[in-house]
Symmetry: D2
């Protein structure tokens, strides 16, 4: 178990980081902060937690930031922090989607590592611009918090695919049903619902951008496959909603495998029902986010087996990111923390100039561009009645 990943830490100390977004009333900012704390690899020292100065101040004070490191302007923050000797080495971006691009751009240009919430940006154009920018800044690490890929049993699944335990992959079945938008919640003033159903802040994809991309990224990560074309149908079931609240996608992967994604925000009875199933010529696997410590594996012609995090059958990839013994469940925050800790190791490797161990994995700009291309293709395909569209 890699508790507190202490070997590097001893000599290097924690990574100083800041945050843009995530002030009072926000949701995902607090998740990022806990994720950064769990393995004790980060120190939270600066923030532009809100664009509203008063709120930024109140939020920063509540979180114990020093007065001179509480900002309301992310540009000012990037500039000031880059100039300090003890300035932040990394920034977490936890704003609504439309702010991902400008904020990321500012910090990348300032030479500060970026940990950005997903999806990457408002549109594919921005995504490609960030990709281009990062090519010019090879020393800046860019991570995208597709946090589900941090779950140990997802690492296990990927490892099993890589090891050929499933044979040649035929089918990737992903689904992510939720029900929190089954009514027009956005009209009640609920903040999360408001921006997520607003094209100006969310981009052209609603459900497809928010949870469809997660599902797509997870399928790609586990299967090791890349989609070449897709056919999608986006639906807004709730009257008056400006973005899709349900999406059905067919995928053609390179090499002949096929995939299917269903994501929905109106499927009554589901909280965060992310589920991934992958079928190959030699076996099939099944994983469900709500019970993330279990991976079901059936070898062709054999019995279904339960591989548990920390238990029999869990291999090296899962063990690396496991903290407590099997039967003691880890959850969402630990999965998220794994992404943060992987990034920390990458940052430390940069510091020391060491080559990064291949085992250390986190989603980055490639996943981000692929995700935006996925949203873009889904929206286009759906507008043409599900026409097959290149990704």
């Amino acid at each position: 178990m890699a508790i507190e990943g202490s070997k590097n830490q001893k000599n290097t100390g924690r990574i100083r980081y800041g945050m843009v977004g995530g002030g009072q009333g926000a949701f995902i900012g607090a998740v990022h902060r806990i994720a950064a704390r769990i393995d004790d690899k980060y120190e939270f020292v600066a923030g532009a937690l809100s664009a509203d100065a008063a709120k930024a101040k109140a939020s920063g004070e509540e979180l114990g930031l020093h007065a001179d490191r509480i900002y309301s302007d992310y540009k000012a923050m990037a500039k000031a922090e880059a100039a300090r000797a003890d300035g932040i080495e990394a920034v977490a971006i936890v704003t609504p989607n439309h702010m991902h691009f400008p904020v990321a751009k500012a910090f990348i240009e300032a030479g500060i590592h970026v940990i950005c919430d997903k999806p990457l940006s408002l549109n594919l154009k921005e995504a490609k611009a960030l990709e281009a920018l990062l090519k010019k800044k090879p020393n800046v690490i860019f991570a995208l918090t597709h946090n589900y890929s941090g779950y140990p049993m997802i690492r296990q699944a990927r490892e099993m695919v890589e090891n050929g335990e499933l044979g040649e992959i035929r089918l990737v079945q992903g689904e992510y049903p939720q029900d929190w938008l089954a009514t027009d919640l956005e009209k009640t003033g609920q903040k999360q619902a408001a921006w997520r159903t607003d094209p100006k802040r969310s981009g052209a994809g609603g459900c497809v951008g928010d949870i469809g991309t997660h599902t797509y990224q997870l399928g790609n990560y586990v299967s090791g496959l890349t989609a070449i074309e897709l056919s999608a149908e986006l639906t807004s079931f709730v009257k008056g909603r400006k973005l899709d609240d349900d999406v059905d996608v067919r995928l053609h992967y390179k090499g002949g495998a096929k995939g299917h994604i269903w994501a929905s925000q109106v499927a009554v009875g589901h909280e965060n029902g992310l589920k991934l199933r992958v079928y190959g010529t030699k076996g099939g696997i099944e994983w469900v986010q709500a019970d993330p410590n279990y991976l079901w594996f059936t070898p062709l012609g054999g019995q279904k087996r339960l591989i548990t995090r920390g238990g029999s059958g869990a291999g090296a990839a899962a063990s690396r990111v496991t903290r407590v013994p099997g039967g003691h469940p880890e959850g969402y925050l630990e999965g998220f923390a794994n992404i943060y800790s992987e990034v920390a190791q990458a940052i430390l490797a940069k510091r020391t100039g060491k080559k990064l161990d291949k085992a250390i994995q986190f989603p980055g700009i490639k996943d981000g561009v692929e995700g935006m291309a996925f949203i873009d293709a889904c929206v286009k395909s759906s507008a043409k009645h599900g026409k097959w569209t290149k990704v």
Copy 2:
């Protein structure tokens, strides 16, 4: 509980029935015979259990048929039985698909009720011919054994939809993964695999015909919806296979609801994983065939609830077809028997000229034609890269 449905039985006795197909080595014939016996509403008295005379004789003797009621020619059987005073009132057709049409035709023309295995026929043309024939024979009852609609919790689900407990239906999600054809089993001489992957005996649909139709019928039955158009992708993952072994279908229902079906014969880890989920504006339900005594229901904003067969929350429609108390599981054979018993009551109503109680329900020619139209549309849509196709 409607055990032995005795009220009618007292005066009328059991229904004499025969069978075409289902001799030694077959699978579904024995299932039909058990289903017919469970509620004691039928008497098995005649059979053309095989087209091979020796096998027909051996099979018939084994099952205790009198020598003069063992046939190898279904036409001879239809003729002889129709002529006898104690001739069969109904015939069960349990042959491969290509024989459904000619056998059904012969018995309908002879005025004998038909209980036919699904899918209805080899193609849509035959289906419509049978439909036309039945219009000319209004006294002949035609039942199609979409047996899953006989499960008590499926009746419960339909009743809840009818009662508006789910509100307006938005989404119907059906899936039916299996794995028995994950390899080229048909090349090993396995009988079931051989005819089911052979277009001459199965028709133009493989997986879509065998289990896709079941899923489609079940979704329609529970939701009360009718599909108007669909987009399908049929795949043959196993090299050299002549028919599809995996199918992905999008459905547009009348009124704006949408549906999705995934059926597969190559999804390693699944035996008969039929699952149906229906989501409306007020609630969602979930049912799985492998655990058929449970129906999960979530009212909008409420907690997920477990309705059990025979338990709290099970209404009149489920209770009618329930034999044993909650917690004592009923299974596949009881669900199948419910179809048989419903048909028996319809036949008895015919005998006595009484009007059939609306509560008595079984799939018939309408389901059969819809099923063949579904297969036909899927095949056509898939050939055109998933083009939306009228059903």
Copy 3:
């Protein structure tokens, strides 16, 4: 698959049987009749379905019995049927417990095979008297419907224990929670509750006799162990109840293994929650009656595996009593039918003088006496504050 076990049937025909008890309003009688029909090995021809002549007549007619084979006096029935050339070969006894002994005695003395519902009798004395009687009547087969031992996955479990797959057995954990007697239902006139909570008709054990014995028999059957002493606590949680509605038992098995049984009729949330777990030095298994097609097996140090009825890992013992493929659930009635069909094969072997195949298994007088000794010891132990008591 042993569908319709036809080899014997061809030459011998069905077994003629009758029933004592099980008239209109009863529960378990109908279960026995369905169980007898499922595999088509029995013909129901006579009955003393009630001690009330009018009710016996109405019940018999409803079930299609000939007028001259409808009795209200079981002694008259035993005598008359024994005298007929076409008399019954077997009788099913489905009365409340207090009638098991006199009825069984009458039919055994008349040379008629007996299939008796459990528990065997009102007390241990009667049980031993029946045992003695059967020793004098070696040609009479006596079966006790501990139906749970007929489930295929229970056969599988027993076979695995016999084959040493669990190593030396250490622990047998059985539980059977129900909730139907959580209130004083017996005071509402509910028939089932009335006799089951009445010592005159049920015997000295309430919950312990009704479901405790089932759990005990099942543990013994699967583990192959015999209890030598026990410590029990019987409780009547519902005020005014004359018999126990909850029982907790510790068991010491011969050879050092230990067991525990908890059965309850007041555990709100459980319908028929029978569960058996057996742990040995090399592995552990778990089975739940509500989902009877699954057997969970964990080899020491390995992953939990799901053995399914009809699926991978199911051995000969389970396959013998399996009718439909894996994933198509069988249930309570099929398990019950397996007992009936096993008994039928024993009766046919008697007819033909053949030795019974060791694979054919059903609970009999030994289980019955052990069950009564179990109840007896539980009642005595509980009266002495859980003192260890010989079984």
Copy 4:
């Protein structure tokens, strides 16, 4: 959501704490440290992480402690820290059981708050001595990490019992099967196994002390009941083992309710299978540690319902200790962190002299003494063949 419980934090800052035990190679120390970090209410500043000076130094450095706050002698640490202006306010004790008492005593006497791992001490005598000491030190807070009582759904269960939703409690069923000691692991040199099976370091109870006490405490916490007497059987299934590896306990609670606990370390197939079921006159609940975000509740006569952490039906007690939305699982570490955060609030209340909100709950000396009395009574009862023994 009480993320970062920031209201108090704003003015008061983090609590400085140290640790005794938990150096390199230990397990539970790292769990405590993560638990302390998750909500950012603690700062780790001192430690006697090992009694071995070199190991203490290496461990302390790895964890970033200043050289002058790395100790190998807990007495020296208590003295030095009490003397510092910036000394620790609390200490976490994560040694094997035999060291709990002397370490706790030293820090309590030094006026430092204690967070101690369970069970409280080596024996009941020590427990009572600590209790007496704490009475003399009313300003010292003592917490015992019965961490399972920190799970939100356990809080929910307790709240439901308090609110009368289960009616009068009749039965408490707790079980905690594991399998890690199914072989004589202690003979292989495995550190955890070695001390846990050694009476000198563990005390008189093995399994009963390690996980039996957890189960007992959890049942008491949720039900609000106190046991007055018990009957226990302790078994050592593995040859040569000095302490019990399996325990079966009957409990009589004040007021007439009964309880049962089964804990085992040899139940092959279980990792940490803690499960609690409570049944009352009006309802029953069920909770399983491996899936801690679910609480199953069945009201008498109603349907089983799934209450989820963060979802519909979760009340105030659960919401207080919830971080992420329903469907995003929290786990073992978050439950543990809840205990830490509750204690932090108690410490902050001490600082400011405010009265502690009744909603803030954590296990303390009372639970500790009760746990030791439980072990003591179990050992005594078992020695007398399960004689009922006062707790």
